[in-house]
C-alpha cells in the first residue's frame, strides 16, 4: 500500500504565485522518504496541503488510500505533522501542549496522559514537562513539536525541516530518534535542504525545484549518478596560487586550503599523486558541506 499518493497537485496562492505546478509523488508504506529542495521550492506548501493547513488549487492527495477530499477525517488521523515554524502555544507547559493535541485527536484524558508521557520521554523532554514551552531552547522546541505530532500514533510522520538551525549534537540525536520511529513501522517524510541529512537517513528521495519535482529515485542511485565530488583539502605549505592539474578544478580558498572538484571518473588517487609531485602534502581532507547545489547542477546538465 502507498502511504502517500499525490497526483497533479497544483497550488496558486492568493497573490497569483504558482507554488506547485502539478506535482506527482508516491511514498511507499514504511519508507523513510526525503523531499529535498532549495528555499522557496514549494516543500512547505506541499506539506501544508497534505496536513490540511493549506487549501490546494487542484489535484488529488491520498493518505493510506483515504482521499483528502472525501475522507479527510480518516486521512488526518493517519498523519502527524511537524511544521517548519514553531506553532505551539508558548505560554503552555510542554505537557499541556502535547496533552491538548491528544485531546484534539479525540484521545480520552487518561490514555492521553499516558501517551503524552511516552512521547515526551521519547524525545527526551520528560524532565521539562512542567516547563513553559517558551523557555525551551530551539532544539527542544523542535523536539516538542515531534512529540506532539506522535501523540496519536500516526502511521505517517511528516517533518518539515526538523533540524534547521539545530546544533550538530542534537541533530544527530534527532536523526537517531527518527530512525527508531521508522524502524517501528512509521512511514517518515522529511523535507530538508541539506543533502547530507537526506543521504544519511532516507531510502528514497524526490527533488523539488520551483514547484516541480525534478527527480525521483532511490537514494543510492541518485548518489551514484553524481558526477563530481567536492572536497576541501588542508595542505602542508603556503601556496600563492591554485596548482593546475588537468581534469580537476582547483581553487585556492586560503594559503593552506584548497577546494577541489573531483570527477568520479578520475578519483582521488591521481589527485594525490599530482599534488605530491608538486611537493604539496595533504594534511586533511573533508567533503564540502553543502552538496545540494552541486547536485542540482548535475541534474540540470
Amino acid at each position: 500500500m502507498t502511504a502517500l499518493s499525490i497526483q497533479n497537485l497544483k497550488k496558486t496562492y492568493g497573490n497569483g504565485f504558482e507554488a506547485l505546478k502539478g506535482v506527482d509523488l508516491e511514498v511507499e508504506c514504511g519508507d523513510f522518504f526525503a523531499l529535498l529542495g532549495p528555499n522557496g521550492a514549494g516543500k512547505s506548501t506541499l506539506i501544508g496541503i497534505i496536513s490540511s493547513l493549506v487549501n490546494k488549487t487542484s489535484g488529488k492527495v491520498r493518505v493510506f488510500d483515504h482521499d483528502l477530499d472525501t475522507d479527510r477525517v480518516a486521512a488526518k488521523t493517519c498523519i502527524g505533522a511537524v511544521p517548519q515554524e514553531i506553532n505551539f502555544n508558548q505560554f503552555e507547559t510542554c505537557f499541556s501542549v502535547v496533552l491538548n493535541q491528544a485531546g484534539y485527536y479525540g484521545i480520552p484524558r487518561k490514555l492521553a496522559k499516558q501517551r503524552t508521557e511516552q512521547c515526551l520521554r521519547q524525545v527526551e523532554l520528560w524532565d521539562k514537562r512542567d516547563t513553559v514551552s517558551r523557555r525551551l531552547s530551539g532544539g527542544m522546541k523542535r523536539r516538542l513539536m515531534i512529540a506532539r505530532a506522535m501523540v496519536h500514533s500516526p502511521r505517517l510522520l511528516i517533518l518539515d525541516e526538523p533540524t534547521a538551525g539545530v546544533d550538530i549534537e542534537i541533530r544527530r540525536s534527532m536523526w537517531e530518534m527518527m530512525q527508531e520511529v521508522n524502524k517501528q513501522g512509521t512511514t517518515i517524510i522529511l523535507t530538508t535542504h541539506y543533502l547530507e541529512e537526506a543521504e544519511s537517513l532516507c531510502r528514497n528521495i524526490a527533488i523539488i525545484n520551483n514547484g516541480e519535482i525534478v527527480e525521483k529515485s532511490a537514494m543510492h542511485q541518485l548518489l551514484g549518478r553524481m558526477h563530481t565530488d567536492h572536497f576541501v583539502l588542508d595542505v602542508g605549505r603556503s601556496l600563492t596560487g591554485a596548482p593546475a592539474i588537468a581534469g580537476y578544478q582547483i581553487e585556492l580558498v586560503s594559503e593552506r586550503c584548497l577546494e577541489v572538484a573531483v570527477p568520479k571518473s578520475l578519483g582521488l588517487n591521481r589527485l594525490f599523486q599530482e599534488l605530491s609531485a608538486r611537493q604539496i602534502e595533504v594534511l586533511s581532507l573533508r567533503n564540502k558541506s553543502n552538496r545540494l547545489e552541486q547536485l542540482f547542477l548535475d541534474l540540470v546538465q
Binding site: N87, N89, Y104
Partner: protein, 254 residues
C-alpha cells in the same frame, strides 16, 4: 467519531487561560464595579432619587452586571482566538480531525464561561453595595447566557478578520463600549429627550439590558419578548457567519 473529547479539551484550555491570568481578567471588573457603585451609586445617585420607583443605586445594578458580561465574553474570544491565529497554534486544530462547529463551540463556550464568571463576580460586589434581589431567576439566567453567547460569537468573528492587535480593540472601544453605555445602563430611556428615545431603541444592547433588569427588579423600558427574539436572531446569524468563515478558512488558511 466522538468529538466530545476535542470539545472539552478546547473548553478546559480556554478556561485555564483566563483563570491563569486572573489579575487581568477577573480583578479589573471587580474594581471597576466597586467604583461605579461608589461614584454613580453613592455620590450621584442620592441626588437622582427614584427611577421607576426604584432607588438609583439598585436601578443600575442589572446594567452594570450585563455590561461586564458583554465586554468579557467578547474580549475573551477575540483575544484568545486572535492569539491562536497569531501564534499559529490554530494549526494544532486544523491538522486534527476537529470539525469547525466543535472549534467554534469550544471557543464560544470559553467566552461564555468568562462572561458568566465575571458577571457573578460583579453581582457579588453589587450585593455589598445594594440589597439586590432577583425576581425572575429563569429570565435572568436566560438573558445572562444568551447575551454571553451572542457577544462571544461576535468576538470570534472580530478575531477571524483581525490582522493586528489594534484590530481586536477597535470594535470593543468604538462600538461595544459606547453602545453599552448608551444602552440604558445608567438611565431609563424615558429620561431622554423626545427624539433620542427613538434613537436609543435602535440599539440592540438596550433590549438585553432591559430584559435583564426586568428579570432582576421587574422594570423594563421594552417588551422582553422582543429582546429574546432579537438576541436569538442575532445568535443564529452570527453563528452561521462564523461557521461559514471557518469553512472558507478566511484569515486562517491560505
Amino acid at each position: 467519531m466522538n468529538y466530545s473529547v476535542a470539545f472539552s479539551t478546547i473548553l478546559i484550555k480556554e478556561i485555564r487561560r483566563f483563570t491563569r491570568i486572573w489579575p487581568q481578567t477577573l480583578l479589573p471588573p471587580a474594581i471597576t464595579t466597586a467604583l461605579y457603585f461608589l461614584i454613580f451609586g453613592k455620590l450621584i445617585g442620592d441626588r437622582i432619587g427614584l427611577v421607576h420607583g426604584i432607588r438609583y443605586m439598585d436601578y443600575i445594578v442589572p446594567g452594570i452586571i450585563l455590561m461586564s458580561v458583554i465586554s468579557h465574553s467578547y474580549s475573551n474570544v477575540v483575544s484568545s482566538f486572535y492569539s491562536t491565529k497569531f501564534q499559529r497554534h490554530i494549526e494544532e486544530l486544523l491538522v486534527a480531525p476537529v470539525p469547525n462547529y466543535v472549534i467554534l463551540s469550544g471557543y464560544v463556550c470559553g467566552g461564555i464561561a468568562r462572561g458568566v464568571l465575571v458577571g457573578l463576580v460583579v453581582a457579588a460586589i453589587s450585593m455589598i453595595f445594594t440589597d439586590t434581589r432577583i425576581l425572575h431567576w429563569d429570565i435572568v439566567a436566560a438573558v445572562f447566557v444568551l447575551t454571553a453567547t451572542l457577544f462571544a460569537l461576535a468576538g470570534f468573528i472580530n478575531a477571524v478578520f483581525a490582522d493586528s492587535f489594534d484590530d481586536i480593540s477597535i470594535i470593543p472601544n468604538f462600538i461595544l463600549t459606547p453602545l453599552s453605555y448608551l444602552g440604558g445602563v445608567f438611565y431609563s430611556v424615558e429620561m431622554l429627550p423626545g427624539i433620542w428615545q427613538k434613537v436609543a431603541q435602535g440599539n440592540p444592547i438596550l433590549y438585553m439590558i432591559n430584559a435583564f433588569r426586568y428579570g432582576m427588579i421587574g422594570v423594563s423600558d421594552v417588551q422582553i419578548q422582543i429582546a429574546f427574539a432579537m438576541t436569538a436572531g442575532f445568535i443564529l446569524l452570527l453563528a452561521s457567519l462564523s461557521l461559514y468563515l471557518l469553512h472558507k478558512g478566511i484569515g486562517i488558511k491560505n
